[in-house]
């Protein structure tokens, strides 16, 4: 299985773990999960990317498409645990300026509490 997505609803926040590789063939799965969580009223969304090996523009585009809505609805999005090679892809596009990116879950939690 190329991509596995785990959802964990904790007290004040939800953690989405992305495991594997996201490309044009499966980015819609990421989109559906996020849409679900938004509809479920998520307030703080942490995305654990410590096991994300790859993300292409299709996956990045999914995150981008929610940024304005998150801002309007005051939903906090924090991505954490990115591997260096994956982080550098966010970096090329300057997405690290648009999305909160933290090294560890602890740092990410501090952002939303």
């Amino acid at each position: 299985m190329m991509l596995q997505i785990e959802k964990n609803i904790e007290n004040e926040h939800s953690v989405l773990s992305l495991i594997g590789e996201i490309d044009a063939s499966n980015s819609v799965e990421l989109d559906e999960v996020i849409l679900d969580m938004v509809q479920g009223g998520v307030r703080n969304l942490l995305v654990d990317c410590s096991q994300l090996e790859y993300i292409s523009s299709a996956g990045l585009g999914v995150f981008m498409s929610y940024l304005e809505e998150f801002q309007e609805k005051e939903i906090k999005l924090v991505i954490f645990g990115l591997k260096e090679k994956v982080f550098q892809v966010f970096n090329i596009l300057g997405l690290d300026q648009l999305i909160k990116i933290k090294s560890t879950k602890k740092d990410a939690l501090e952002e939303v509490l």
Binding site: D23, G61, M64, L67, K85, Q88, V89, L93
Partner: protein
């Protein structure tokens, strides 16, 4: 050295493409981060062809040739049909992509920022997109 791959126009084949490229890139002087980016750039061009030019028709295919010398890699992507000239495409601002909310529009920006040179030509109904990555840095 020359490597070839026939890629069927089905996005589920993209992981095969990544494996193919990963094996070739492993033997170069590129860092892990650079190897990753080169794989991404080539995939973006192929994914665009699969999706936008070939409507994800798994019976159609595109041909990839990778040429490697001491200081240069050339990725040549060939397909038939309506060509799309990536050089003529004017990339949008990232802020525009964000506002458009169409979950796309970042691919070519990545390709242009990762690769050192891009060529495009169409001859006799064959479209050729060449992506160049310089290997040597010292």
């Amino acid at each position: 050295m020359k490597h070839e791959l026939k890629l069927y126009c089905d996005t589920t084949r993209l992981s095969e493409l990544r494996n193919f490229l990963g094996d070739i890139l492993e033997d170069t002087s590129l860092t892990e981060v650079d190897q990753h980016q080169v794989i991404l750039a080539v995939e973006e061009v192929c994914a665009n062809l699969i999706i936008h030019s070939h409507d994800c028709n798994p019976k159609e295919c595109i041909d990839l040739t990778v040429k490697k010398s001491a200081d240069l890699m050339i990725f040549e992507i060939r397909d038939f049909g309506q060509g799309f000239n990536i050089l003529e495409y004017q990339e949008p601002d990232i802020s525009f992509v964000m506002k458009s909310k169409r979950k796309g529009g970042l691919g070519i920006i990545l390709v242009k920022r990762i690769m050192d040179k891009i060529e495009f030509e169409t001859k006799a109904n064959i479209n050729i997109c060449r992506l160049f990555k310089i290997l040597k840095s010292k």
